[in-house]
């Protein structure tokens, strides 16, 4: 469905994504993990065409058509939607208006109203707050609204940039279960996360990103079993010294 070949993205002179290739099959969930500054968000923004004149090199194909260096508005119309990091809801529009804005590219009013109700069943709290300004919602509610809004365009592929950012564990669980439901409805998902455990439990395949490159790829099960991933992303410490503390720092083997 999505086929990325060797893309490189620059912010002026800084190369944030250094040759990433990624193939996403239809109806899959792909998780991209990595530390801060690894280039995960930049990768998603590059796919969405949000960084002007980028990718510098490489191609992005969606459903067989090249979408690299196209306008964001155009890319959205082809069926990709994006839940940006930090929610980015329209603060001075009501919840309902936010959802309507999400359906901007669609015409059929009845279907749109139907989908708004679907979003309310996914997130009942949004239904309760439908006539409230989005800016007055709590962080978790805003995240739900951002996801709901991204659903309104009926996307084939949905990119989520750190949906768990700044949310309590309970809310994170709720958000992830909704992502699962959305996936079950036939939407392909790419998920960028810091919360590796949650992300891998959901995803089919995972990629570990560091310094703008993919350093490790595999199915979620493979990644969960990987020694390095366990130590550096899942927080499982495999070996301790006999005195009960570790005196050396383990090095990642992929460097």
């Amino acid at each position: 469905m999505l086929n990325i070949k060797n893309i490189e993205t620059y912010y002026d002179l800084i190369c944030a994504v250094r040759g990433v290739s990624l193939r996403v099959e239809a109806k899959s969930i792909t998780a991209i993990l990595g530390n801060n500054g690894a280039g995960k968000s930049t990768l998603l923004k590059t796919i969405m065409g949000l960084i002007e004149d980028q990718p510098d090199k490489g191609t992005i194909e969606f459903c067989g058509e090249a979408i690299d260096r196209k306008d964001t508005e155009e890319i959205v119309r082809r069926g990709i939607s994006f839940v940006p990091e930090g929610r980015e809801v329209f603060e001075e529009l009501t919840v309902r208006e936010n959802l309507l804005a999400g359906a901007f590219i669609r015409k059929n009013r009845n279907r749109i109203d139907g989908d708004i109700n679907t979003v309310y069943t996914y997130f009942p709290i949004l239904g309760k707050r439908r006539n409230q300004w989005a800016g007055t919602l709590s962080g978790g509610e805003q995240q739900m609204l951002a996801i709901g809004r991204a659903l309104m365009s009926r996307p084939k592929l949905m990119l989520l940039d750190e949906p768990s950012l700044g949310l309590s564990p309970v809310l994170v669980k709720e958000i992830f279960s909704i992502i699962k439901t959305i996936h079950a409805d036939g939407v392909t998902i790419i998920l960028v996360e810091q919360n590796a455990k949650m992300a891998l439990s959901l995803a089919d395949t995972g990629y570990i990103m560091e310094n703008g490159r993919f350093v490790l790829a595999g199915t979620s099960a493979e990644l969960m079993d990987d020694e390095n991933v366990q130590e550096f992303y899942l927080g499982v410490r495999s070996d301790t010294s006999s005195k009960g503390y570790q005196r050396w720092k383990r090095k990642k083997v992929w460097r």
Partner: protein, 291 residues
């Protein structure tokens, strides 16, 4: 008592042309957060365009009106596309400076083409006609202006509140990046807004032109309109209109009862006071971001 009511009515009449300019500025401000100082000169250009086609081609006013309004629309779109969009890494301040530059260019062009002397615009309603309601007198032109203002305000309000275009405009203003992610063509929205607000401004120009027509005719309405819009909170259409009426009334009362010399200054004194007491404007319903 009659005197007092008369003063208020004249104030509302004077305020209505400020209101139109205020509406036009609020419209652009709502989508791009830039106060457009070229607004007055856009209206000036459209009025002189109407004057030109009526004088040179002998068109009737009712034919010239749609021509002038379409001219205003195209001019607005054209300037946005040609000048403002070209700005690299635009910030609000540089955009404001650009609009001031545009204002001077347009003013220069109009003065060069038509000269600085007073013209008379052929208009179906004579500015000297007036109507009496009881003992209150109001000139017919002013009465028409008041109704036009209210109609335009209502139309714009409906547009912003209920139409898809209105939603796109509000979304673009609040978060351009997110709006683009919704598939809203932000550039096109901005372009249309410039066209639309230029039309609203042009209507103001055409209603002022019968009484006063020379290259500097829009300065006073523009500044007062801007002041009124600031008073109304800069993002509220009814706010801009009521601000303008209020401004007109206060100005007139001050001129009648206190000092006619300082009439023009009083508007700005009020702005300063209001901005000190309530910086977000009298009618703003602006959500303040919690950090």
């Amino acid at each position: 008592m009659i005197d007092f009511i008369q003063t208020i009515v004249s104030g509302i009449a004077a305020g209505s042309s400020y209101a139109l300019m205020g509406l036009a500025m609020v419209l652009i401000y709502k989508t791009s957060e830039v106060p457009n100082f070229a607004q007055g000169e856009l209206a000036l250009a459209a009025s002189f365009f109407a004057y030109m086609i009526m004088e040179s081609f002998g068109l009737s006013f009712f034919l010239a009106l749609p021509c002038a309004l379409s001219f205003a629309f195209l001019l607005g779109c054209f300037l946005e596309f040609l000048v403002l969009r070209r700005a690299k890494t635009p910030n609000i301040l540089s955009m404001i400076v650009i609009t001031i530059g545009l204002e001077m260019i347009l003013l220069g062009l109009v003065s060069w083409k038509f000269g600085a002397d007073q013209k008379t615009m052929p208009f179906p309603i004579s500015p000297y006609d007036s109507m009496a309601i009881g003992n209150i007198f109001i000139s017919t032109l002013e009465l028409v202006t008041v109704f036009v203002v209210l109609a335009i305000m209502a139309a714009l309000y409906l547009l912003l509140r209920f139409s898809k275009m209105g939603l796109a405009m509000k979304a673009t203003q609040q978060n351009t990046m997110a709006a683009r992610l919704m598939g809203i063509r932000a550039n096109r929205v901005l372009n249309l807004t410039w066209g639309l607000s230029s039309v609203v401004g042009a209507i103001a120009g055409l209603l002022i032109a019968p009484t006063l027509m020379h290259p500097y005719m829009m300065w006073d309405p523009l500044l007062k309109g801007f002041a009124a819009a600031v008073m109304g909170g800069m993002t509220s259409l009814p706010g801009a209109v009521s601000g303008a009426f209020l401004l007109g009334i206060i100005e007139n009362i001050f001129g009648t009862y206190i000092s006619i010399e300082f009439k023009a200054v009083v508007a700005f004194a009020i702005i300063v006071i209001i901005l000190c007491i309530k910086p977000s404007g009298l009618f703003a319903r602006h959500y303040v971001k919690k950090v």
